[in-house]
C-alpha cells in the first residue's frame, strides 16, 4: 500500500515508511495481517489529495486575480510614496497561492503565518481583502495615524502571528510555535515568508540550525527570491548563493519553484506538508527577473 501511495503521490517510499508509524497514530491507516489499510479517515484524505488537488489544483482564476491585486497595490501605495511597492509585488503571488490553498481550497493545514519580511504587509493586506478578511475601507487607511493597519505587519489587524518589521526574526518565532505544537501533539504547519535580503541577518542562520536540530518538519519557510535588496542586487550587496546548498547543509529539504506560478507554488506547499520526515522545509520562490 505504501508503494502504491508512493506512486500516486510522488513521495519517496522511504519517507512514507518513516511516516507509517505516525499515520497509524493519527488513525489514518490500520494494520491487518501485516498489511496496511487506509481507514475511512485516511481514504478521505487520499481522495482530497488525489489528482484533482495534488496534481492539478485549480488555481487558474488566480492569474487574473493577481493582475487586479497588483493594480490595487500600486493604487494603494501611491499616496504613501510607493511604500516598499516592489517588495510587496514580488511576494504577492506567494501569499495569494498560500491563502487560496489554505482558506479557499482547504488543501493546506496552516496553523500560523509569519511575514518575516514585514515590510511586505501591503501585499498581505490586499490578498486578505480578497478573502474577506479586511474591507476596502480599512485597506485604504494603511499607515494613517489611528489606523489599525500598520505599514509593517502586526497581529490583531492582520492574520500574522507576531509583529515584524525588523528583519531576520520571523523564522525563530516560527520555530517556537512549531515546538509548542509538537509539545502538545498538535497537527498543522507554521508558514513563514522571508525576503532574500534579510538572509544577511545572522539570526536567520541561528534559526535555520535550530529548526533542523529540533526536527521541526512542521515549519515551512518560503523565501521570496527577488534578487534585490535596498542598496542593490543581492549578489552585489552580500552574496546569498549558493542558496539551495546552504540550506541543505543546514539540514533542510529545499524545493525551488517559480514564485509567480500559483499552481507550482501550491503543489510545492502541499508536498512539503506531506513529507513529514523530521526535516524542516524550504521553498525558494524565484520571483526576480533574472537569476544571479
Amino acid at each position: 500500500m505504501l508503494r502504491r501511495m508512493s506512486l500516486e503521490h510522488g513521495t519517496s517510499l522511504s519517507t512514507l515508511k518513516f511516516n507509517a508509524k505516525r499515520l497509524k497514530e493519527l488513525g489514518l491507516i490500520e494494520l491487518n495481517n501485516k498489511t496496511a489499510c487506509l481507514t475511512s479517515a485516511g481514504r478521505l484524505i487520499v481522495n482530497i489529495l488525489s489528482d484533482d488537488a495534488l496534481k492539478q489544483p485549480d488555481v487558474s482564476s488566480l492569474r487574473s486575480c493577481s493582475v487586479t491585486l497588483r493594480e490595487k497595490l500600486v493604487e494603494l501605495l501611491e499616496p504613501i510614496n510607493g511604500f516598499h511597492l516592489t517588495s510587496s509585488l514580488s511576494c504577492l503571488d506567494i501569499i495569494l497561492a498560500l491563502l487560496e490553498g489554505w482558506l479557499a481550497l482547504g488543501l493546506l493545514n496552516v496553523k500560523a503565518l509569519i511575514l518575516s519580511k514585514g515590510h511586505a504587509a501591503p501585499a498581505l493586506y490586499v490578498v486578505m481583502c480578497r478573502y474577506g478578511l479586511l474591507c476596502e475601507h480599512e485597506l485604504k487607511s494603511i499607515g494613517e495615524l489611528g489606523s489599525k493597519l500598520q505599514t509593517h505587519a502586526e497581529p490583531g489587524a492582520s492574520i500574522v502571528a507576531v509583529p515584524t518589521g525588523s528583519l531576520g526574526q520571523g523564522l525563530s518565532v516560527a520555530n517556537g510555535i512549531a515546538m509548542a505544537m509538537k509539545m502538545r501533539g498538535e497537527h498543522g504547519f507554521v508558514y513563514v515568508i522571508l525576503g532574500d535580503g534579510e538572509l544577511d541577518e545572522g539570526q536567520v542562520w541561528e534559526a535555520a540550525s535550530t529548526a533542523s536540530s529540533h526536527g521541526l518538519d512542521n515549519v515551512i519557510a518560503i523565501i521570496d527570491r527577488n534578487n534585490h535588496q535596498l542598496t542593490g542586487p543581492t549578489e552585489a550587496v552580500k552574496k546569498k548563493e549558493p542558496l539551495k546548498a546552504k540550506w541543505e547543509a543546514f539540514g533542510w529539504d529545499v524545493a525551488e519553484v517559480d514564485g509567480h506560478d500559483h499552481e507550482a507554488l501550491l503543489r510545492t506547499m502541499i508536498r512539503a506538508e506531506l513529507d513529514r520526515n523530521g526535516r524542516p522545509k524550504l521553498v525558494i520562490a524565484r520571483t526576480g527577473g533574472m537569476s544571479s
Binding site: 500560523a112 509583529p163 526574526q169 523564522l171 518565532v173 520555530n175 517556537g176 509548542a180 507554521v190 535550530t210
Partner: protein
C-alpha cells in the same frame, strides 16, 4: 555576613517547583543551563526544556513563538548576553505584548573572575526603557523565589535580574516581598537608603553603622524598579532629608535614574547615587573586593549619607 543559598540555586529550585504547578511553563536556554542552574528544570521536565545553542537572538524569537502558541516561556541566560537580543525583546516580545519571562543571572559585578566582558552594569537602564517591561531585582534567595512566583503570575514580559552566588540573607522566609511594592526594612528620619539586589543587605549594615553615629537611616528594598512604587519613594522623600540610592549597576539609568526621574518631577529631593561610576568592571579573584573597588560597600553608603547630612 553568612553565606547561604545562592541566587541561581534559589531561582532554579523555585523554577522546578513552579514547573510542577504550571504545565505550560517552558524554559529556553542558550547553552548556559549548567551556569544558570536551569539544568535542574531540564532534568525534571526534559520535554519542556528547549536548548537553542549559543544563539541569544534566536532564543528570544523561539520564546516569542512559544508564547504565541500559548506556552509560558522563561528565557534564562547571563544578563550580559541577553542584552545582545535587546532588539528582539523590544520588537517581538514587548511590541507583541507576549507573556515571556526573562531571568538574567550573573548580573552586576557578580561574575567577578570573568571580568568586564561578563559583568553587566547597563541592563536595568535598557530594560526599563522598554514599554510594558517589568524590571525586578531581588535582594536574596527567599525574595528571589517570591518574586519569581509573582512574575509568573502576572501577564506580560518581566525582566528579573539576579547575581550569581553571593546572596546574604535579608529575609527569613519567602512571601515577605510582593512584586511592585517597595519594602521598608527599617524606619529612619534623617536619610533614606533605597537599594536593590545584594546592596540591600549592605544598606542594612550601613544603617546600623549610621545609627552608632546618631544618624537615623531608613532602609527600603526597591526590588521592583518598574513599575516603581512611587508612593513609597515619595513618602521617603517627605520623611527624610534625602535619598541614597544603592545599586550594583551603572549610576546611569538604573534604580538611581528611576528615582531621580520621579523625584525631580514630583518632589525635588537631594539624592546621592551609589553605583558603578560610568565605567566597566574588571577581573577580581573575589567578589567583595571588586564591589569595594567600585565604592559598593558599607563605608561607601555611610559616606554618601554624610554628604547629604553635611550639606544641610
Amino acid at each position: 555576613m553568612r553565606r547561604v543559598e545562592s541566587f541561581r540555586d534559589a531561582f532554579a529550585r523555585a523554577l522546578v517547583e513552579l514547573g510542577e504547578l504550571m504545565e505550560e511553563l517552558v524554559v529556553v536556554d542558550a547553552d548556559v543551563a549548567s551556569s544558570t542552574k536551569t539544568i535542574l528544570f531540564a532534568k525534571r521536565f526534559p520535554t519542556r526544556f528547549v536548548e537553542v545553542g549559543i544563539s541569544e537572538q534566536d532564543m528570544v524569537g523561539v520564546a516569542a513563538g512559544l508564547a504565541v502558541a500559548g506556552m509560558v516561556p522563561l528565557v534564562s541566560t547571563f544578563s550580559m548576553f541577553l542584552l545582545r537580543a535587546w532588539e528582539q525583546i523590544r520588537n517581538l516580545v514587548a511590541r507583541g505584548g507576549l507573556n515571556v519571562k526573562f531571568v538574567a543571572t550573573h548580573a552586576g559585578l557578580s561574575d567577578y573572575l570573568d571580568g568586564p566582558s561578563h559583568q553587566c552594569l547597563e541592563d536595568i537602564a535598557v530594560m526599563r526603557a522598554i514599554t510594558g517591561m517589568k524590571v525586578v531585582v531581588p535582594a536574596d534567595a527567599p525574595s528571589t523565589k517570591s518574586l519569581l512566583r509573582d512574575s509568573l503570575s502576572v501577564k506580560g514580559p518581566v525582566y528579573m535580574r539576579l547575581g550569581r552566588d553571593y546572596a546574604p540573607r535579608v529575609y527569613d522566609e519567602e512571601g515577605e516581598v510582593k512584586l511592585g511594592k517597595a519594602n521598608v526594612l527599617r524606619d529612619g528620619s534623617d536619610v533614606c537608603i533605597a537599594a536593590c539586589g545584594v546592596m540591600v543587605r549592605f544598606s542594612l549594615e550601613a544603617a546600623k553603622e549610621l545609627g552608632k553615629m546618631g544618624i537615623s537611616a531608613m532602609v527600603m528594598d526597591v526590588h521592583t524598579i518598574k513599575p516603581l512604587d512611587e508612593d513609597a519613594i515619595l513618602k521617603a522623600s517627605y520623611n527624610t532629608k534625602g535619598l541614597i540610592v544603592v545599586e550594583e549597576h551603572s549610576i546611569v539609568g538604573g534604580l538611581g535614574g528611576a528615582i531621580a526621574e520621579l523625584l525631580a518631577e514630583k518632589r525635588p529631593t537631594r539624592i546621592v547615587r551609589v553605583g558603578v561610576k560610568d565605567s566597566f568592571g574588571t577581573c577580581s579573584r573575589d567578589y567583595l573586593s571588586l564591589l569595594n573597588h567600585h565604592g559598593l560597600s558599607v563605608a561607601g553608603i555611610v559616606r554618601a549619607a554624610k554628604v547629604i547630612l553635611n550639606e544641610g
